[in-house]
C-alpha cells in the first residue's frame, strides 16, 4: 500500500529537461536545476529505544485473534515477536503486562491538530484556505504548528500516527500529511517517512454554503459536481502534457517543457495513483456520485470521511474497496448529518468494507478507543457480531490502510514498526487509559512517569496548564 511519493514521481517527470530550462521573468517558475526529490522531506528519526519485552498481557494485534498471557518483543524500533512463548534477549527491559492490554498505536485518519492548534483563535486558524473552491495547491503540512499541545493530549490517548487534513470549505481543500505523533521542532521532523500525501475533497453543504454566500460557484450540489469534473479535465490535460513531453525525451527542446502548476500537480498526482483521495461526504447519494466521478476520470477514493449515511451504501463501499472514516455517534448538526445512526460503523464493517473511527476533533482523538467501544456496543445491540478483534482495527489497521501506511504500522506483526500501547485494562472500557505509548520502540509517554508528560513551548512559564490529565 505504501506508494512512491507523488513529489518524487513528478520530480522524475521534470528532471529530464531541467538542466537546460530557463525561467522567464514573471512566468511560472520552471525548475532550473533538478528539484529536490521530495520537497519538505521527512527528517524524522526514531528516538532512542532499548529492547523491550511486554509480558503476560492480553494482546489485540489487529491482525489475528486475541492472545491471552502473551508477550510482545520490541527491538530496534520494530516488532520482533508476538505470542505466548517469546524469549527476550538478555538486555531486554521486561515490562509486566499482567492485567493489562496491549494494542497497536492508535491512528486517526482525519485530524486537524496543528492546523487548528491550541490555544486557538484566528492567529493560528490555518486549516481552511477558503479563498477558492479549488485550492489543491495548498499543503496542510505548511500550516501545521508542531508546538500544538493537542499532539501531547492525543499521545496520552494512545495515538501514534495521524493524517492532518485541510478543512472542508472547498471542493478541493489541498494536500493532507501523515505525521508521527512525536515531539519535534519542525513539521518535517514529524512527517511519516514514505507516507503518501492525501487530497482532501468535500461534498455537500460546506462548499456550496461557503461559495454560494459569496454569490459564486458552487452554490448548489450540481455546482459542486461541475466543479470537480472541470478540475479533473484540467488535471488530465496537464498530466498528458507532461507525459507527452517526457515521451519525446523530456528536454530535447526545453521551450516545450510545460510550466509547473502546483494545483494541477496535486490533481495529476491523484490520477497517477500517488496521492490518496480523502473525500468528506455525508450523504449516501453523494457518495455514489463521487464514485462515478472517480470512475469517469480514473482515480480511486481511499476513504469517505464523516459518511453518516455510509450504512445506506455500504455495499458500494465494499464493492469499490473504499474505507469509511466515521464517527461513533455524531449526528444532526446539519441536515446532511440528520440520518446518522450509532450502528453505522458496525453495518459498514459487516458489509465487508473498511470501517474506521476517525475523530475530526481534538477531544475525540484522545478517546478513539471509547468511540470505537460505543460503536461496537451499538452494533451488538442490533445483532451485529462485533468482536474486539474487529473493533480494534477500526482505530489501527483500517486507518493505516486508508492513509497508506499499513505495510509498516497499524498491527502488531513481526517486522512492523513498534508502535504499541499498553492499556491499564480493557481498551474499550471507559475507565481504561493508555499507560505506556511506544513509537518505533521508544517509550514516549508513561502515565505513571510525569517526566514524560511533555508540555508544548506555549505552556512553559504559564502558572497553570498543559496537563495531559
Amino acid at each position: 500500500m505504501m506508494r512512491s511519493s507523488p513529489a518524487l514521481l513528478f520530480a522524475g517527470l521534470l528532471a529530464a529537461g531541467c538542466a537546460t530550462s530557463t525561467a522567464e521573468p514573471g512566468a511560472q517558475p520552471a525548475p532550473e536545476a533538478e528539484p529536490a526529490a521530495e520537497p519538505f522531506a521527512s527528517t524524522y528519526t526514531p528516538l532512542p529505544s532499548r529492547p523491550t519485552l511486554i509480558r503476560n498481557a492480553t494482546v489485540l494485534t489487529a491482525a489475528g485473534p486475541r492472545l491471552e498471557n502473551a508477550s510482545v518483543l520490541l527491538v530496534e524500533g520494530k516488532i520482533v515477536a508476538v505470542g505466548q512463548s517469546v524469549t527476550a534477549p538478555a538486555d531486554a527491559l521486561v515490562v509486566d503486562g499482567a492485567g493489562k492490554w496491549v494494542t497497536p498505536g492508535l491512528i486517526d485518519s482525519h485530524s486537524h491538530l496543528g492546523v487548528y492548534p491550541t490555544p486557538g483563535g484566528s492567529a493560528v486558524s490555518d486549516g481552511n484556505e477558503a479563498t477558492s473552491p479549488n485550492t489543491a495547491q495548498v499543503w496542510a503540512e505548511h500550516s501545521v504548528w508542531p508546538q500544538d499541545h493537542q499532539f501531547e493530549l492525543a499521545r496520552a490517548g494512545g495515538v501514534t500516527a495521524m493524517q492532518i487534513l485541510p478543512g472542508s470549505a472547498n471542493l478541493f481543500g489541498g494536500r493532507g500529511v501523515t505525521l508521527k505523533n512525536v515531539p519535534a521542532r519542525t513539521v518535517q521532523g514529524m512527517k511519516f517517512p514514505g507516507a503518501p500525501h492525501g487530497l482532501k475533497m468535500a461534498c455537500g453543504e460546506n462548499p456550496k454554503r461557503v461559495y454560494g454566500r459569496r454569490n459564486s460557484s458552487p452554490s448548489t450540489r450540481m455546482g459542486n459536481v461541475a466543479g470537480y469534473r472541470a478540475a479533473w479535465i484540467g488535471a488530465a490535460k496537464y498530466r498528458d502534457k507532461w507525459k507527452r513531453w517526457r515521451a519525446k525525451g523530456g528536454g530535447a527542446d526545453s521551450t516545450e517543457m510545460p510550466d509547473r502548476d502546483l494545483k494541477l500537480e496535486t490533481l495529476a498526482g491523484v490520477l497517477e495513483g500517488d496521492i490518496l483521495v480523502h473525500n468528506h461526504c455525508y450523504r449516501a447519494d453523494e457518495m455514489a456520485v463521487m464514485i462515478d466521478i472517480a470512475k469517469e476520470f480514473g482515480y480511486r477514493i481511499a476513504s469517505f470521511h464523516h459518511g453518516v449515511e455510509a450504512y445506506k451504501v455500504r455495499d458500494l463501499l465494499a464493492a469499490e474497496g473504499i474505507c469509511g472514516s466515521l464517527w461513533a455517534d455524531w449526528w444532526g448538526f446539519k441536515l446532511e448529518a440528520y440520518d446518522g445512526i450509532k450502528e453505522n460503523l458496525a453495518l459498514v464493517d459487516e458489509a465487508g468494507a473498511c470501517a474506521i473511527v476517525h475523530s475530526d476533533s481534538p477531544s475525540g482523538i484522545q478517546r478513539l478507543n471509547q468511540e470505537a467501544a460505543k460503536a461496537m456496543t451499538a452494533g451488538r445491540a442490533a445483532g451485529i457480531d462485533v468482536i474486539y478483534e474487529k473493533a480494534i482495527r477500526w482505530i489501527t489497521l483500517n486507518p493505516a490502510k486508508a492513509i497508506g501506511i499499513d505495510d509498516v504500522t497499524g498491527s502488531l506483526e513481526p517486522g512492523k514498526n513498534a508502535d504499541v500501547v499498553i492499556w491499564t485494562g480493557d481498551p474499550f472500557s471507559v475507565y481504561s487509559k493508555a499507560e505506556k505509548v511506544y513509537l518505533d520502540g521508544a517509550l514516549l509517554y508513561d502515565l505513571n512517569d510525569p517526566s514524560t508528560h511533555r508540555k508544548s513551548d506555549f505552556f512553559l512559564g504559564q502558572p497553570v496548564g498543559g496537563m495531559t490529565q
Partner: protein, 432 residues
Amino acid sequence: MRQATKQRAGRAVSLSTATCAALLLTTAHPSLLDAQAIAITNARIHPIAGPVIPQGTVVIEDGRIAAVGPNVAVPDGARVIDASGKVVTPGFLDNASTLGLVEIGAVPGTNDMSTSDDAITAAFTVVDAINPLSTLIPVTRVEGITRAVVQPRNGSSLIAGTGALIDLGGDRVTAMLHANPTAMYAVLGESGAGRAGGSRGAAVLRLREALEDARDYASNRTAYAESRRRDYAPSRLDLEALVPVVEGEVPLAVGVHRASDILATLRLAQDFGLRLILMGVAEGWTVADDIAGAGVPVVLAPMQNIPRFERLANSHENAARLDQAGVNVAFATFDAHNSRNLKQLAGNAVAYGMPHDAALRAVTVNGARIWGIDDRYGTIEVGRDADVVVWSGDPFELSTTVENVFIRGREMSKETRQRELLERYRSLPTRP
C-alpha cells in the same frame, strides 16, 4: 400547528410569574401513568439516597416509587421485571442542554436556542420554544436520560434569559415542566467580553448595571410607569425578569471559565446577595476552595481538556477536585444531539478521580438540589417520581445497554427515528 391547537389552556407561564415556578406543574399528567404496578426485582439498586442494595426490588405505582429495598413484597397483579444481574438507578439529568430547542443545528428554522433581539434578553424564556416532539428527545431518553435542563444560549446580549427543567416523557411542554425558571443565564469572561465591547471588565459592569436597575425598578414600579424615574438600561420586560434574581428567588447562572472570572463572579454575587450557580468553570479546580466557601454549586462538562486562553488550566480532573473540595457538582453536556453521552462524561470523571457514587450523584440528585426538585426527583426513595432506568450493567460503562426507561412511572418506548432508519437499512434492497 397540530400541537398549538391542542395546547391545554390554563397552564401558560406568565412572564411575571417566575417566582411561582416551583409550584408549576409538578402534578403528574394522569394519562402518562400506567395503572398497573410495576416491580423491578433482583436488581442491583443505586438508590442514591443510601448505600447500594446488591439485590433488591423497586415497586412503581401511580407514577411514584412505592417501595424499594432488599425485602420488598411484589404487589398482587404487578408487572414483574426480573432484573437479575442488572443495575437500577434514577433516570439521569442533563443539567445544561438545548434539547427541544434545536432539531438540526445548521437549519435556522429549527434552531431556537438564542435571540439576537436586543430588546429581549433577560425576559427570554425557553418554554414557549421547546418542541416536545423533537426527534432528539426519544433518541436521548432511550439512553437513560430522563430529564434535562433546557437553557437558552446567548445571542447578542450577555444575559440569555431563563431556562426550564423538563422530563423527556411527554408530548406537551406544560406537562413536562418541573422547574421554571431554573435560573437566569448569563455569560462573563471571554464570552461576556465579546458582548460588552471587548473587555471582561465592561461585561461585569453591564451585568451589575442590569442588576442595579432591576433592584431600583422593583421598588419604583409606579414611578417608572409614570415616567418619573431615571432611565434603565434593560427594557421593561427584562427588568421584570430580573427582579426575582435580585430578590434572591431565581438563581443567576453564569458561564465562566478562567479562575479570575470565577472569582469576579463570586464577588458580584456576594455584592448583590444573589443565588449563584457557576456554569462551565473549566479552571474551577484552581479556585475550588473559594467556590466551596461561597456555597456555590457548579454545572460542568467533565471531559473538556482542550486548552484555550481562558481555560489554560483545563483538566480532566476538574470534576473530581471540585467534588473533593466539597462543591456540589452537577454534570451537563451543554449540547442537544450529544446529550445522550452524559454517561460517558460521567465515566470519564470517574476515570480521572471522581468516586463512582459521586459521579452518579452528579447526574441525578446534585442537579435536583440545584434546581429545587430534590423532593420529587434524583433518588429512588418512596414517594419520589418514578424516573427509573434498568441498565445491563454499570451505567457509565461503554458496553452497557439500557433495558427499560421509566419516566414518572410510565415505560418509554424504544422507538426512535434512528431505530426506524436502522430497521429500514438493516438489509439493503437489491435495487440501487
